[in-house]
């Protein structure tokens, strides 16, 4: 089963991160890297990325006149998607176990969602 693990940030988690010293932040990055390495070694990792700052995000709208691109309205959003892991693992319990290791879990900022399968399904 594939699961999409979304890691969000909110004002308090961002504040906590910013209060860290450079060394603490470095060891924080190492912690994520270690999880990525472990998941790659077990064959469970499909993709993982950290997203760039939301100030670089573009809002895309298509109308009859064509596609327009804007900056908003992300500024008002309190909770932002900060990064994700796409894993293929044995069970939902395992996906939750992985998700529970991220520090953001302490702030309730991790969301695990199953990925839709595109096979033809069964006869039942």
């Amino acid at each position: 089963m594939k699961y999409f693990i979304q890691i969000y940030s909110n004002p308090s988690s961002r504040q906590a991160w910013e209060s860290f010293s450079a060394e603490e932040q470095a060891s924080g990055y190492e912690y994520y890297q270690r999880i990525s390495d472990e998941l790659a070694a077990s064959g469970e990792l499909i993709a993982d990325e950290a997203l760039a700052d939301v100030s670089l995000a573009k809002h895309v709208t298509r109308t009859a006149d064509g596609v327009t691109v804007g900056d908003g309205p992300f500024a008002e959003t309190k909770e932002l998607l900060a990064g994700f892991y796409l894993v293929d693992c044995e069970s939902e319990a395992r996906a939750i176990q992985i998700a529970g290791r991220f520090p953001e879990a302490e702030y309730g900022l991790i969301e695990v969602r199953p990925v839709l399968e595109m096979s033809g399904g069964s006869d039942l």
Binding site: L116, G120, D123, L124
Partner: protein
């Protein structure tokens, strides 16, 4: 590719996959190191898949694979040995003539891939490569995951087998039963992974159902089957796969059993599956795969849903409920009951089952989309259109399968518009 060369390529792939497990068994028997032998065999298979379609399949595909893989293995050990300055090891490695592998060796190889220290995904990947003779790239296309993921899973699995210190041999009798049961579950998992869609990018997908049937045939041929469950598994696969052409329409959308064009069902597979299940029910103790095969056989032999012997199916589901209780078995029994006694009887049984599940905190039943889909179908048949539409919508919301979601959502929509 023209027809002739396409046929040559198909022949070559079939020949190399058939020969792969016994060739690997010979190699492991000779040199002992499963992980390194498996790597060497993978290289030999890649060489064969490049060479055989053009030059033709050799007279003895197995001897060819053993010869090439042995050479690769020895080269590898030699370069290792050179590094470690231990030339004497390599000197002893000149290949002796190819011995005939026993059927036991193929079975031992099957069972090694289902080592209990491995996770299910690792067992699946290793079985497909070591016994199935598929390349890492093909397995990745079949499972719809990146090639690197499959490669990691396999190398990790082999490292675990090595760390466990397991030698290449038949497991003791007391372990063999549990391993065989695990292996059957792995093969069935590969089979269900392969319910292929027929459209778009799915076309390039390696056909895992066909591979699973091929492997189940090999396992079936590899030895006696005292439990009857290997025969049951093969029959179940054949009887289910027989309906494949009718299961999806031209757009890849699901066609439910009662609306399938039964002339598209594969008669030869049905006949073979029915013969297998009939014969095994006579000789072996009854088991879950056999009963599931028997249920599939009743469906396959009926000319339509109305002509189906639902009383027989109900009896079989009750039996299955004793052998292997579970939410999906309970649902199958309820569907059969509704066909025998009518939709209201089915709905009452479903209510009862959900109450029982609630009491026993058996969450899967009440939360599963199939429970909602069954309820929706029963409500529709009972003429309670509005409730049926809501239940279909709920089932669509809960499914993890794309085509199924589209089917259920369309049902919800079509019932909504009737007033």
């Amino acid at each position: 590719m023209n027809h002739a060369s396409k046929d040559a390529a198909t022949d070559a792939v079939r020949a190399l996959r058939d020969a792969a497990p016994s060739a690997l068994a010979v190699l492991v028997r000779r040199y002992g190191d499963f992980a390194a032998c498996e790597d060497a065999m993978q290289e030999a298979l890649l060489a064969a898949s490049a060479q055989w379609p053009a030059d033709g399949v050799p007279d003895s595909p197995r001897a060819w694979l053993v010869r090439v893989a042995s050479r690769r293995y020895i080269d590898e050990v030699r370069s290792d040995a050179a590094r470690r300055r231990r030339e004497s090891v390599a000197a002893e490695l000149e290949p002796p003539p190819v011995p005939v592998p026993s059927r036991d060796d193929t079975l031992a190889l099957f069972l090694l891939c289902c080592h209990p220290a491995l996770s299910r995904p690792a067992q699946v990947a290793l079985t497909l490569r070591a016994v199935g003779g598929l390349t890492t790239a093909e397995i990745a296309r079949g499972l719809l995951v990146p090639e690197a993921t499959v490669a990691q899973r396999i190398s990790r699995a082999k490292a675990r087998i090595r760390a466990s210190g397991e030698r290449f041999r038949m497991p003791r009798a007391d372990e063999a039963d549990a391993r065989l049961a695990a292996l059957r579950d792995v093969l069935y998992l590969i089979f269900t992974e392969g319910h292929t869609a027929t459209s778009g990018e799915a076309l390039a997908r390696v056909d895992l159902s066909t591979e699973a049937i091929r492997l189940a045939r090999q396992l079936h041929a590899a030895g006696p089957d005292p439990s009857g469950e290997t025969t049951g598994l093969l029959a179940l696969m054949l009887l289910t796969d027989a309906r494949r052409a009718a299961r999806t329409d031209a757009t890849g959308a699901i066609v439910p059993l009662d609306e399938q064009d039964r002339t598209l069902w594969d008669r030869a597979s049905i006949d073979e599956g029915v013969a297998l299940v009939t014969q095994v029910l006579d000789r072996a103790p009854i088991g879950p795969y056999q009963v599931q095969a028997a249920i599939a056989a009743v469906h396959d032999e009926a000319a339509s849903t109305a002509d189906t012997d639902w009383l027989e199916i109900l009896t079989l589901y009750k039996l299955l409920g004793h052998l292997a209780p579970g939410p999906m078995v309970a649902l199958g029994r309820i569907v059969a009951l509704a066909m025998v006694e009518g939709p209201e009887a089915g709905l009452s049984a479903l209510d009862l089952e959900e109450m029982r599940a609630d009491v026993e905190a058996d969450a899967p039943l009440t939360e599963h989309h199939r429970t909602w889909a069954v309820r929706a179908h029963l409500l529709e048949r009972a003429g309670r259109t509005d409730a049926a539409s809501l239940a279909f919508a709920e089932a669509a919301r809960r499914t993890l399968n794309g085509p199924e979601q589209r089917y259920l959502a369309a049902k919800a929509e079509s019932l909504r518009s009737i007033h």
